[in-house]
């Protein structure tokens, strides 16, 4: 579904991502791990177009999206969450979901008339479902800025889902969570997989990554050093060296 072909991103002399090839199959959860500064977040930023690639190509379902501007990748079905939560704090919970559902890029393809005639009730139900999924139904009129940290994380995930993506990029969704919240997140991610989403999961919380990922890819210094199932990756000497240093 998603294919990165030899992509690179250089910031001046720093090679944040270098000649990286990666594929994600439909319905799969790919765990993307690596030490700090290994290029995981940069990779996600390149996929959603926050900055242009230095080299390489990105294709989604066979369509080349390498040069597509950020605001048009939404309608290609890409949505993400951020390591440091990003929400519209001045909008309410409900409005945050609403603006994601009604993104201008979506409206064109669905037609103004269709929305006018039957869209709104359906959209309202969808918002309700998302609020339930995120456990935020009772908070729907609260400003996003006033939510507790855990609630903001859940809202961010719901916001990403509201754009009706096929590919979800989750950048450290467990950061700052306690064990109980992580267990709930684990369950939520599995539920998303059952619903057919394709997910790229960046995470430092190894237990979570290893538990939910179908495949794990390990980066170090912008390059892929290992790829495989959780067990394979954990046994890989190159991975051990990257994380623990040489013995």
């Amino acid at each position: 579904m998603l294919a990165l072909d030899g992509i690179a991103k250089h910031f001046g002399g720093i090679r944040a991502v270098d000649d990286l090839a990666l594929t994600v199959a439909k319905g799969e959860i790919l765990g993307l791990i690596g030490p700090n500064g290994s290029g995981k977040s940069t990779t996600v930023n390149l996929i959603c177009g926050l900055y242009p690639v230095t080299a390489g190509r990105i294709t989604l379902d066979g369509r080349d999206i390498t040069d597509l501007p950020t605001h048009r990748r939404l309608s290609e079905g890409i949505a993400r969450t951020f390591q440091n939560i990003r929400l519209f704090g001045g909008l309410t919970v409900w409005q945050n979901l609403w603006v994601a559902q009604n993104a201008p890029a979506h409206r064109k393809e669905r037609g103004y008339l269709a929305r006018w005639l039957g869209g709104s009730k359906q959209a309202r139900e969808e918002t309700g479902r998302l609020l339930d999924f995120a456990g935020l139904a009772h908070r729907k009129d609260e400003l996003a800025a006033n939510l507790a940290f855990g609630e903001q994380r859940r809202l961010e995930l719901a916001r990403a889902l509201a754009t009706r993506p096929s590919l979800l990029l989750l950048d450290e969704p467990a950061a700052g969570m306690n064990a109980e919240e992580i267990a709930a997140l684990d369950e939520r991610i599995r539920e998303l997989k059952r619903q057919g989403y394709t997910i790229v999961l960046i995470e430092h919380h190894m237990e979570l990554v290893m538990a939910v990922s179908d495949r794990v890819c390990v980066l170090n210094f912008g390059r892929k050093i290992a790829e495989g199932t959780a067990a394979e990756v954990q046994a890989d000497p190159a991975v051990r060296q990257a994380y623990l240093g040489t013995a």
Partner: protein, 296 residues
């Protein structure tokens, strides 16, 4: 109505336009120190319209607004693609440049045995349209008030629309707005054009109210004030900048209450508000709370 009061209210109305123009840019997260330039462009263009070209007032005001909108777009096009303070810096530079251009502009024609038109640093005398037509100050105030009310109504509709929500999204987090499918650059350009047009309209009115304009009037103090009006009055609604103008001109400048100390009080007010209420008196939170009370 008392002539002094008419004068004060007319002033508030005209300055409100340039305050609103700075506000529109603040909404999409851009700080401009140069709105005085577009106020000036509008004043000169509209003044030339009636005094030199003999056009009707409405047409001259429209020309002023359009000229200012084009000017603002010319400034926005190269700078809005850059992140950070580039637009703020460029707006200040552009405005100073514009002021000097106006000081060098000579475009006078003879009318009724008298030279009218911009005469460089000497200024632009004889924009006598409303006096020649015998329009009373109170009638002119009515015109200003009607145009301002129409603008505010239009902005109220705009802010409740999808586009209005999009503006605030861009202003709050450009990156997230782009990821939410918003063409950030085009949204901001649209705002720049609107901001330029509003400042230009205010300038056109100003030129006709005072009959005489000079480049010096359009210096950075006007720009800083227009920026401050939104920050004082609040960025939650278009009524915020209007409140700011009302406080400053209505209370500080026009009454003798703080005679001589106006700038100290004004500066202090800005400083206190930036700490206490960074988004002004009528900010988004207050409006949200009011809306919730209203719904109950």
């Amino acid at each position: 109505m008392e002539p002094h009061l008419v004068g004060v209210l007319t002033n508030i109305g005209m300055i409100a336009f340039v305050a609103l123009s700075a506000y529109l840019l603040l909404l999409v997260g851009e700080i401009s120190f140069g709105q005085q330039a577009f106020f000036g462009i509008g004043a000169y263009a509209a003044g030339i319209g009636t005094a030199v070209l003999d056009l009707p007032l409405g047409l001259a005001l429209a020309i002023g607004a359009i000229a200012a909108a084009i000017g603002q777009l010319a400034l926005a096009l190269p700078t809005f693609r850059l992140r950070g303070l580039y637009f703020a810096m460029a707006s200040l530079a552009f405005a100073e440049m514009m002021r000097i251009v106006l000081e060098l502009t000579q475009f006078q024609v003879e009318r009724d045995g008298e030279l009218v038109g911009p005469n460089g640093a000497e200024g632009f005398r004889g924009i006598r349209y409303i006096f020649e037509r015998g329009i009373e100050p109170a009638e002119f105030l009515l015109l200003v008030a009607a145009l301002l009310a129409a603008t505010l109504a239009l902005l109220a509709v705009l802010e409740r629309s999808r586009f209005g929500r999009r503006l605030r999204m861009v202003g709050e987090d450009e990156l997230l707005a782009a990821l939410s499918g918003i063409d950030v650059f085009r949204t901001k350009l649209a705002m720049a054009a609107a901001a330029g047009a509003l400042a230009g309209l205010g300038g056109g009115l100003y030129a006709h109210a005072s009959t005489y304009i000079e480049p010096r009037l359009f210096d950075v103090m006007l720009g800083v004030h227009s920026l401050a009006y939104g920050l004082i009055g609040g960025l939650g609604t278009a009524l915020g900048p209007l409140l700011g103008v009302g406080l400053d001109i209505g209370l500080l400048e026009s009454t003798q209450m703080f005679a001589g100390y106006r700038m100290i009080v004004f500066g202090g007010l800005v400083a206190v508000l930036l700490i206490w209420r960074p988004r002004g008196l009528l900010d988004e939170r207050l409006l949200h709370r009011l809306a919730r009370i209203g719904r109950r």
